[in-house]
Point group: D2
Chain length 344, copies 4
């Protein structure tokens, strides 16, 4: 597109899957961000798809199949927000169509599928895929990384992190603590440290009584990186008290830590209290906006820079080792192949 | 507009005055917000107007006169971001044209002009004017107000506030501490307390050596409200260390306070440090976005809800009393007429 | 005393007045501090005096009159912890006897009596009197002062302070907000700034419903110093939420603030909370210990260094002006004579 | 002693070993605490012993041998502050003499010696030994424990802790991270949780460049308790930035955390900073005072309540397992026998 078109024309996006996150991205693209419009949608239930898009764009077309969305002539770029197991199929289809695709995590539910995507994208010759890891777009994580890169703490040696949710549903099982929750840490910590994982261990502390038979909660995941950095991540998804993301990086001469979100302080009843978030959507809402805006802008200039399918692949490999470590209770190796040139 | 148009058509905005804040709003409307486009601009220097808008919309038209912007057929709404003394003229012109107008503070530089605007708007019969007080859009001020309204501190009795800038230029003189700086506090504190001012006193502490001959800095402004709440605001515009906005409301049973903006904490060299903002634009950037988006959305639905010309008028009356109090060093009465029905 | 005696012999203290603070000092000298013992006591009710001292030292003697305590042969030094209006009489008696005397604040309830004490002490030729202002012994106030002296904030320009009590009894009236409460701020702020007051103004905000007919609560006291520093102190003695002492000193290039006392933080129920003290005795307990220990040590070496009768006199002069300002609602001058050489 | 004697007579203490901590306790007992005096000392260098005690009590007697101190007729109680490997010998000698003994940690350098002490004390029939673990006397640790006991966080599930020193000398080697440093955590965490350890694992992260050939630094120690609580302790003794003790206990419904020590906050140069302690002695100075005062008071009433020789024994068993885990890099079992009735 030339400069004039860039301002005249919006990026026409097709959305596959209109569950909670799909609907949120339709709203975001229509009302919060600039330079894009939602022109096509699909869902396993086409009525849901129609209902999701009509209030935002009554002219958008609803399709039975995600592939039809991808191949619609007026669709410039695709967002995959369907059920995890269907991601790979749609991403591969988008690559085949030569269209940019934003895929919510996970990129795929098997390493084989991640691998197929990487191969297909490399065959295409340039990046088409952005994976929905939003934390690198959070201003606090960015500040954390900047301070590390600027040398404020010297060489990083350890990371202490925690991912706590107030509670989860009955269908959230032990392995989802890795695939659904830890996956964010697996991506963002690599990015923070500019490093790769080589081993994982999982520890099961005394269980909370607020969990259920199929979920061991909390869990502690220990990771080791190539450079020897040791990471401990507490994953506690029924912590009751709130949504709380903590991260401290300990270096040779100092420590940087994520702040608690700023919140009005109340002095009353012999206590000084600040509220803790309970809704995870609020914690990273700005990051989601920046992430998707950058995807839109990248599509328009022909060059996307966000988390790549390589990130999705590596996170999948690490996650698989963590799940194995849950089962074996032993230290499991994580083996990441050489990064292809296209992703460097 | 009907619902369909609302999605199809953008609000076409004309911007009068392309200084720093004008340029920022052009950028904001074009890239950050949704549902609007800048189609016309003017400036005392038409070349500046062209330069300001071209990168964002090469099709926008630059005019010699702000009145031409207002009266341009394709302009749906107007933003007045010109030099303060010209505000009233353009706002009155927009009211005459029956167009929505967002006017950066001050609404006008004299109470008489504020009054003319209120009369004109009432003659028109419905609100057309929104004044650019952005703090009520800040999430922390909103949380502060919600806690007060919800009764967390009981009846408010006192407010301790501070407005500190790192430094100001040579052309910033003593009265500007009121007209340019305190004006924000004057608006937001009324809104926080749902109250009106009845008197003002100004105290000049020992001066900082970082000021100049025409600026007494710092100043402390004491305000009294109808219900008896006492407010002290430190205005210190050469505080050197950063941009820092503080506000605590003391009630019968508790105190609520604005937080410092969240920032990554560093432990190093025997100190625990968090950065303090230095750029005022960063402090309220989210508030600006919400403020202008709400103006855009309001124009499209035909009903604007933000700070009204009545707010602008009352702030002007209070500011004038404060400036008189600077001169007399006495307690000056603030007399606010009955609020017209349209502004209730 | 020679060095050997210093270790062999304890300072033998007589205590006049065995109310709450007297009993606390008896306990402190007997069990917490070293180098002193309580050998004599008196009280308006001699039975109370006996009951107060017996558990700590059954050999201590109880007297009908404070003057007998002062003149008892085995009494090396005196602590005056009786009712305020009796302080001056006992302090003058101790000076006459040439004995060191620690007098709880106030030194005297009239300026005339303060003046008599200063004259008597000067006639004696060296310091004998220490007044019970304990805040300069608090580690946080000391750190605050050190940072100011070290230049961390540049020249001080303003002080924002607050003194809040959870609640007070029915016999606490408007003027006691000055004589009993503000008196601590009057002493410690002079010491912090190394400056003297020249005027006072008192503002009465909307009253809390938790006060009674004879107490205006809260109050804001505005003070001006010789060097032009402006001080605002909120005095709020029925704040309900806790005992809270705040102090920030604003200088040309930075601000130093007292911390909230360290306290264990609890994350639960969507809130992060730390307890606020409710008992004022806990806030300065370490300061009391250091204060009295230094008095004991000073008596033994023949040279006391703590707050002098000059401090007591100046605080009384400033307090009287503040009470006048409560009545007149005008700015009242504070006139402090030249400091006598002995107190420099 | 009868009540009268308790007030008349001081506890006469003999101190064995006049290195840094011995000298500090002599000063503490003489000047800061009440009810005790130092009457006898010994040291491997008797001149050091004399020099250590003379300024505080010129009448105290210096002995060649610690056993002579123990057996001196005028010695009521003993403090063992000599080199670690000599502790057991003196503690056993004190038990034999039927005298109360305060022994700085470690109680003994072998489990066998700890066991001998426990056997000897049980043979004596009542507690004579207090081990110098001071953290349970720290007000913040006490508040932490109280909140756990009171149910504020529900059942404890995990502990995240850190022990950081600015730096250590060349003679501090890898195992000392356990015996000298972790030992405090081993004692205080059992006390916090009212639980016992069953396994230990040690992880060596990337090493800091500020360590030396014989010290692996930092280390992470993972502990498991009988009830399933999982503990991670970062031990980092060359962290450069300060002395920093962190502890958070995560329970079923909340988290309690030690605060950073309160410290004056400075806003300057675009940063908000509070100092971090660098001297470990300052962090627990109040705890030391309370600990030794309680020992003195306990000796006088014939009943001591502080950390017992059982605590010393259990800490030794756990520490030995941790050192084994350093060597094997495997999970090592910790086997604690049934607690004898006398220590319940």
């Amino acid at each position: 597109m030339n400069t004039t078109n860039q301002h005249d024309k919006k990026l026409r996006i097709g959305v596959i899957g209109t569950g909670a996150i799909g609907v949120d991205h339709i709203r975001r693209c229509t009302h919060t961000l600039s330079g894009a419009e939602i022109v096509a949608v699909s869902d396993v239930n086409i009525d849901n798809a129609k209902k999701a898009v009509t209030p935002h764009n009554p002219n958008a077309k609803a399709y039975e199949s995600g592939h039809d969305v991808i191949n619609a002539e007026n669709v410039d770029a695709v967002m995959v927000t369907s059920w995890g197991p269907t991601h790979a199929e749609y991403v591969l289809s988008a690559i085949k169509a030569g269209k940019f695709v934003f895929c919510e995590k996970p990129l795929a539910t098997t390493i084989e599928d991640c691998d197929k995507i990487i191969q297909a994208e490399q065959a295409h010759g340039s990046r088409l895929v952005q994976v929905g890891f939003m934390r690198p777009y959070d201003k606090d994580y960015r500040a954390l990384r900047k301070m590390i890169v600027d040398g404020a703490i010297g060489t990083p040696l350890m990371v202490h992190a925690a991912h706590r949710n107030q509670n989860v549903g009955e269908n959230y099982v032990t392995s989802m603590a890795i695939f659904d929750t830890l996956i964010h840490e697996l991506d963002v910590l690599r990015w923070l440290l500019d490093d790769d994982y080589i081993s994982a261990q999982v520890i099961f502390p005394r269980q909370t009584s607020h969990t259920h038979a199929k979920l061991r909660d909390p869990q502690i995941v220990l990771l080791e990186t190539k450079s020897g950095v040791r990471i401990d991540v507490e994953v506690f998804v029924n912590c009751q008290y709130g949504y709380d993301i903590q991260c401290s990086v300990v270096g040779e001469k100092g420590i940087v830590s994520l702040p608690d979100p700023a919140a009005v302080a109340l002095r009353s009843d012999a206590k000084l209290c600040t509220p803790i978030l309970t809704d995870w959507k609020e914690r990273f809402i700005d990051a989601y906006d920046i992430e998707i805006q950058e995807f839109i802008d990248g599509c328009k200039t022909g060059k996307i820079k966000g988390p790549s399918s390589w990130n999705g692949y590596v996170a999948a490999v690490a996650a698989e080792a963590c799940v194995k470590a849950q089962e074996t209770q032993a230290i499991e190796a994580i083996s990441i192949p050489e990064r292809p040139a296209m992703y460097k």
